[in-house]
Symmetry: C2
Subunit: 632 residues, 2 copies
Amino acid sequence: MSDVFVTVEPEGRKIRSIAGVTLLDAFAASGVSVRSECGGRGVCGKCKVFVTEKTRVNEVTDQEKRVLTGEEIKLNLRLACQVRLEGDLTVMIPVESRVRQRRIQVAGVEVALELSPAIRKLRAQPSSPTLLDPQTYSERLLRFLDETYDLGGLTINYEALKKLPGALNASRRDVTATVWNSREVIDVEAGDTTQHAYGLAVDIGTSKIVGQLISLDDGQVVATSSLENPQIIHGEDVISRITFASASEAALDQLQSIVLDGINAVASRVCTQAGVDATHLYEMTIVGNSAMHHILLGIPPLSLALAPYVPTVKSSLNLGPKDVAFHMNEGGNVHLLPLVAGFVGADNIAGILSTGIHKSKELSLFIDIGTNTEVNLGNSEGLLCCSCASGPAFEGAHIRDGMKAVQGAIERVSMDANDHAVHFEVIGGGKPVGICGSAMIDILAEMFRHNLVNRTGRINGEARSKRIRRANASLEFVVAWREETDKDEDIVITQGDIRELQLAKAAIYAGCAILMKHHAVSPEAIEKIYLAGAFGNYIDSVNAKIIGIIPDVPTENVVFVGNSALSGARMALLSTDVRREATDLSRQLTYVELGAASNFNEELISATYLPHKDITRFPSIHKILGNDSRTG
Amino acid sequence: MSDVFVTVEPEGRKIRSIAGVTLLDAFAASGVSVRSECGGRGVCGKCKVFVTEKTRVNEVTDQEKRVLTGEEIKLNLRLACQVRLEGDLTVMIPVESRVRQRRIQVAGVEVALELSPAIRKLRAQPSSPTLLDPQTYSERLLRFLDETYDLGGLTINYEALKKLPGALNASRRDVTATVWNSREVIDVEAGDTTQHAYGLAVDIGTSKIVGQLISLDDGQVVATSSLENPQIIHGEDVISRITFASASEAALDQLQSIVLDGINAVASRVCTQAGVDATHLYEMTIVGNSAMHHILLGIPPLSLALAPYVPTVKSSLNLGPKDVAFHMNEGGNVHLLPLVAGFVGADNIAGILSTGIHKSKELSLFIDIGTNTEVNLGNSEGLLCCSCASGPAFEGAHIRDGMKAVQGAIERVSMDANDHAVHFEVIGGGKPVGICGSAMIDILAEMFRHNLVNRTGRINGEARSKRIRRANASLEFVVAWREETDKDEDIVITQGDIRELQLAKAAIYAGCAILMKHHAVSPEAIEKIYLAGAFGNYIDSVNAKIIGIIPDVPTENVVFVGNSALSGARMALLSTDVRREATDLSRQLTYVELGAASNFNEELISATYLPHKDITRFPSIHKILGNDSRTG
């Protein structure tokens, strides 16, 4: 038996094998990864490679003629499992044949993920029945899938059953079966549709619904869309939605339809954007806080708002599209990630999944800032979590010139030391109309840094600054003069605004402090802080520490991760392993009820100071500010 | 420890036990059967007994005060599990507390059945959550059911989840959970609704839809209703329905909605009749031939009508009400019994279940006569089956004065030997308007017996009978003179009618003959013949043998079982064991394709003779008729 050398492009790696062996086996022996669903039976068509010197291999086989198009054969595309080595050759593994690993981008972090979606589309050519072999068509399909893809114990659902006869007839029994969770055939189509498999990752925020259409074949994001949560007309925050939904069955029905319509609108938009037929949308993964979760399902949410704040259900759920009228493939699946507690939802679990802190040895703090801010502390050994009633200030509510992180919002601010001149950046460029959360942090930190507010948050009326003025019997700070803005007046931060921000940041820090105390660790022990929230693209970690939102850890260890909930939903769409991790997290996360902590009020009050009443907790800030009156 | 004697009424049996033991344990030790779902925890309320001498037992316990009504306590009703023996006493076990066994009535046979429906309604009192015990409401319910009823691994479905918070609130956490297949909670209601559990057994015939509402608590039939299968406007027989449904997707949809509406109409009628709320209709079991099955499900049925006549699916199916828009409890289940082959459907399996031939050692023949007649031969060792294209003659079609077995049909006929005077009975009394299948058998047998037709089925024009006359160049026999009828003309049997009946009976007998040959048995070996079909209440076994529909076995061994399909559906509703038997049957029944039998045509032609070309196959008929020209 003679040695044969195969050069594998694009890496240019050279592997040794022996004549007569299939290319797929040669790859396997040398650790070259190529996709294959059918284990080398020439059926699935996944192991396509370009053979650049085709004279050195066997002729195109009958099986390849069945699976490959005429066009592909002309391009010297072959199935690695059908190519037998006869001499040295060079092959090129195209992107679509590489073993699928995706790097999930979360702003600031990147998570590697082995693709193992619940949805697999598999080609199948079941045989025809005869009088002597009268097995039914569904049995024949399931037998083929078992024998070819090693999928024993499969069933076929009702929607797929209805399509089976038509698909077999239209294609002379050459069909694509869509299999869910290696358990159930949920669709059957004529011909090869293996590349048309899509899923939608959905984050239902209290204020925004965001959806991403993902190709389940290669893991790529193909379209993203979002809209304001249309429930907003029934209240801005979770509590007012729960109150509204609890008034009557009709009210709950109404809130449910509104959010459902919103999700369907997002699904329809992304499908249109990407030119994807909705029948190829097979799965949705949905995350959201517990109230959004219950309302979407039409489960009365009142218990979430009353002590002891217990959900009706917290485990993950798989629903059929007809259960809640989702517009997608009729045999498809809607997966709702699990909850943790009444005020810690699936969005928090998704956030943890996206940061990976549950698998890391590093002691990490993950904070998702919103109207309710979830704080998680721990590592692969265990995680604590809590929910802080931080209010919507950082999302722009209850702040005179506050707004969400959308076009026209000031998102970052710096200030000159001598004349207090304000420099700002506006989302989308142009003149600003308001201030979003990240800029509020900057403004408060800069004012504190330049002695324009003191440690209790009081604006310094004595400061020599033309930007500080009295209006309506109280002080305010002018961030942008009228002529700099796109509105008819100055953009300001009032004393009242600062009080709101202090309460918000105090709630968040108190949550962190109580978890640290529970875990018996000091800030120095924290190796990483992941910060998520609707801050747009930016947050200044030093400023966040100066005003004391987060514990004092080295700035380089603070990572801003943006919409981590959506990233987690995307990961769950692409990997059933991730879904198992989510279930484990839902069971293992230790929920700490802040209201039950004896030191909660004290922690909260101490944390309203800038950065904190106990300045020794913020040694690096102490240094920055110097030993002046503010920190004495 | 002193002996105590308990007299158990109504049987009057005396059992011995010892003081201090609970009555339920005393029953168990002595083999007295009493219902108990919770194993003696005082929760389920099923083991109620009347204690006639209440001074000899302990006081009513707190648990009994919770489960029994004040009225019940006044009546000296106690829970056997809560009563501790203190001295001799007499108790009465009321009907509702007896272990549930039902005798399923099939006309002519009676099958004993241990009640084990898929639906169980169980009382549950889950505890309230606290800050320290924050398990969700669904987890608490499932834990209670596991601990109290030993139901591990239960899940709760989406419809039940939605109802859970409301039911707990409305009842201070004293609810009834409906559990399907010991696997899934499908409904939750406030208070004790354990007795409100109903199921609908449905037989979808080609011509008739029949439904029976059954109490799943005690197995009683509470209402029955039927209507003509409204699909009839698209063809009388299965083949024309299949042809219609195969024209387009819209045509299939149309046929599907029509039959669905029919089932929903039957469901609504029986619920109204019995005063049952449709939300308490938890299950349907549906049987029908393979074409009715596929069309109801919207599965293209064309393959059933084309060789090799293979269904798309034959295994049993469980569907949600929303899958096919059934009107019933939204969390309920629709169970379709399995099929055998393209022309042997779930109705045949149900028929076998109701006769019990698959569990008997007796070699039995079960024949369900219809447009397609299914024949089954065998016993507990194995069963053969086939389908005979017998046509709709016995249901009245293609017979001049033929009609179904409904009001106004002549259903039995006898004839005087000397003057051929005809005596008949009419369904519902009154004057007749036509002849149904059982009377056709009688007429043909009597005509043959009295030499008015010969062995080839030709009417004897030479016979001295004023009832035989020539009309339209062919002979006919007057069954009822115009003045005896409720119509404007005589009721007759024509030569053409007799030819139709001969073809029908030949098809049936040929099926029997080929199965007997396959099984290598002669008619003498057959110990029982079960005859089913839409014959109304009656069929004359001797006459059936005289014209040669069925093999010649002793008359006392022929049993008419009426609508055996509906009985089988009812049994499947009441027992999950029966569903397992159905699945086994679907796999184990050996289907014999008559078209593939080499001797089929010969058998068919020989069987058109009265009773058969080979008279030695009918020795008892030979004897009855005497050794005259007809049998020579």
